[in-house]
């Protein structure tokens, strides 16, 4: 029992470690791609400074300008650090390499999770590190208390997992549809608008806010960013509860879908 647990742990951690080495093999490339966060953050800072000035107030919906700037950095870190295994699954089905990846002795989705963890982790660190100086310059230190850090990290972890579940559902569709780009695009746009990537949910009109808050999209991006800039116990419990609920729902969908899709898998070529 204990031996099996140790073997399973080393198995999945080896997958993460191997991809981490792979990421480090072309870290300069990743760094080059991450540099554009500086530009994005600069535009956000200019834009929201203008908005706050035009409103002639120091707070909008309870968030200061400094809060908002920090919010966007965290939201971008969450968005850009997402595990993009849906495209990888699509590629595997298209080029047939799924003939290798599906028949190894591991859980196929867990493989993709631990594989993507390395890639996502590296990206998150890079985006955060590159965006940090600019944010510190314009917004100063964050107001998050040390005691709340583990709680925000927990929400971040659940956010990543929830996003992984949603993208898994999209990725597994490739077993039958071969192309999943359009599904991904729709999901991405929903995260943009209802997930708080373009604008914090607090700034949306009330009728839209109410709906957006219970949908899963905000729980992957808005939730950790908001708690980071303005931690609030009531909101924390609501978010964690909703995250767990959606994980349960999507988890059940995934179980059913995985069984169905593996039966219907059609692979190209000989």
């Amino acid at each position: 029992m204990l031996t099996q647990l140790r073997l399973t742990t080393t198995k999945y951690s080896a997958i993460t470690l191997t991809n981490l080495q792979n990421q480090l093999a072309y870290i300069w490339d990743a760094l080059g791609r991450a540099v554009f966060i500086i530009l994005i953050m600069f535009i956000f800072v200019q834009l929201w400074t203008a908005v706050y000035q035009s409103q002639n107030s120091t707070e909008i919906a309870g968030l200061t300008l400094a809060n908002t700037i920090w919010y966007f950095l965290i939201a971008e870190v969450m968005e850009l650090g997402k595990i993009r295994h849906d495209t990888r699954i699509t590629e595997e089905v298209r080029d047939g390499s799924i003939a290798y990846t599906l028949v190894r002795p591991y859980n196929y989705l867990a493989y993709h999770f631990f594989n993507g963890l390395a890639e996502g982790g590296v990206k998150m660190v890079l985006i955060f590190a590159l965006g940090l100086p600019l944010v510190l310059y314009y917004a100063g230190l964050p107001t998050l208390e040390w005691a709340h850090v583990p709680l925000v990290l927990l929400v971040m972890a659940l956010a990543m997992l929830l996003d992984f579940f949603i993208l898994s559902i999209i990725g597994l569709l490739a077993f039958v549809t071969e192309d999943t780009f359009s599904f991904r695009l729709i999901y991405q746009k929903l995260v943009f608008i209802l997930g708080g990537l373009m604008i914090p949910l607090d700034f949306l009109p009330d009728w839209l806010q109410g709906t957006a808050r219970v949908l899963p999209f905000n729980l992957t991006t808005y939730a950790p960013a908001k708690l980071f800039v303005a931690f609030n116990w009531a909101q924390f419990w609501q978010i964690v509860g909703l995250q767990l609920l959606w994980l349960l729902i999507f988890g059940a969908v995934l179980l059913w879908q995985y069984r169905l899709m593996t039966q219907r898998l059609a692979i190209n070529g000989g």
């Binding site: 792979n22 390499s97 028949v103 002795p105 039966q263 692979i267 000989g270």
Partner: protein, 331 residues
């Protein structure tokens, strides 16, 4: 789970696979029609197949492109669910016990890479050791054995992207053998390789079969692979088995053309011609003849040759395996 050795390694009974294929008429109109009312056509990739494979056998499973070879392999490794029929591989139903089976089988797809492109092969080897839950000491021994068998000792520290195709392929195959599978599926393992690399790979596979009694299931378009490795051949075309016997029987049964090389004692003075026999090449002291042995018996041709000329040497050869395969596919 230890599998009983007296049962066949692979048992396949009426295994079939059909796919639904979307059809589209040419042009924009066809595209629009396909959006609203996609026309589906069912294609049979594999018609009901039945065969068994015993432990330690080396089987060549051959056929032209699109014959259903890879689909069969994919059903036997558990990636694809069959449309009907049964199969057990080492006692497991592949598509139901995929993970359990994974520890006991290895597969190599010549046209698909499995090694991490930016990392040295050794890193992928270590990852596989963890994935297959190998004891690290046993893994080291196995790795050393495979390094020796495939002669890849000096390649393991180089990023895979810097290796030549032949070097990479040897590492790819070795990677699939790290967990000491009892059965290996090799899907065109030597495709695109030079003669030396091909030979090294064949030697290594043969060593594995001889020392560990590993069962080999090979598909290849290379007649050399088949001839040098496999005693048994299954030919599949349009999803059906059209031949299942020894490699030597295959050669005999489909041997239609014979090639005869004659070396004469004296110089030829005029063009050499025999009825029903094609003169492929003619030199001063020799000719190369080719004919269909079912229409003209070999002894008749030889008699005609020696009755008119004094000969120093006569060599009767089978056509190369390539040609035999070409003939079978045309059936």
């Amino acid at each position: 789970m230890q599998y009983e050795t007296d049962r066949p390694v692979i048992e396949v009974r009426d295994l079939a696979k059909r796919f639904q294929l979307k059809q589209k008429a040419p042009g924009l109109r066809g595209s629009l029609q396909a959006v609203w009312r996609p026309e589906m056509r069912e294609i049979t990739a594999v018609s009901p197949l039945s065969f068994t494979l015993q432990e330690g056998e080396m089987l060549a499973f051959i056929g032209p492109n699109g014959a259903g070879k890879s689909t069969t392999i994919k059903m036997l490794t558990g990636i694809l669910f069959p449309s009907s029929g049964h199969a057990t591989v080492l006692g497991c139903v592949p598509w139901q016990q995929r993970r359990q089976l994974a520890y006991q089988i290895g597969s190599v797809f010549g046209q698909k890479p499995q090694l991490w492109y930016h990392l040295p092969a050794d890193d992928t080897f270590r990852l596989f050791a963890r994935i297959y839950e190998l004891d690290m000491k046993a893994y080291q021994r196995r790795r050393d054995f495979l390094v020796e068998a495939f002669q890849i000792g000096d390649l393991l520290q180089t990023p895979v992207r810097k290796l030549s195709l032949g070097q990479r392929m040897k590492c790819e195959i070795a990677a699939s053998l790290l967990h000491s599978p009892r059965l290996i599926f090799l899907d065109e393992p030597t495709i695109g390789l030079d003669v030396v690399a091909k030979q090294q790979i064949r030697d290594a596979i043969r060593t594995l079969n001889e020392t560990e009694n590993t069962t080999i299931f090979l598909t290849s378009h290379d007649a050399g692979d088949i001839e040098s490795l496999c005693r048994r051949v299954i030919v599949i075309n349009h999803g059906r088995i059209i031949f299942d016997d020894k490699t030597s029987v295959l050669k005999r049964q489909f041997l239609r053309r014979k090639v005869v090389d004659v070396r004469f004692a004296n110089a030829l003075t005029e063009p050499f011609a025999l009825p029903g026999v094609e003169t492929v090449k003619q030199g001063t002291y020799g000719v190369k003849l080719e004919f269909d042995s079912r229409q003209i018996p070999v002894e008749s041709v030889i008699q005609q040759v020696i009755s008119g000329h004094a000969c120093n040497d006569i060599n009767i050869a089978d056509p190369p395996m390539e040609e035999i395969i070409r003939e079978i596919y045309a059936v």
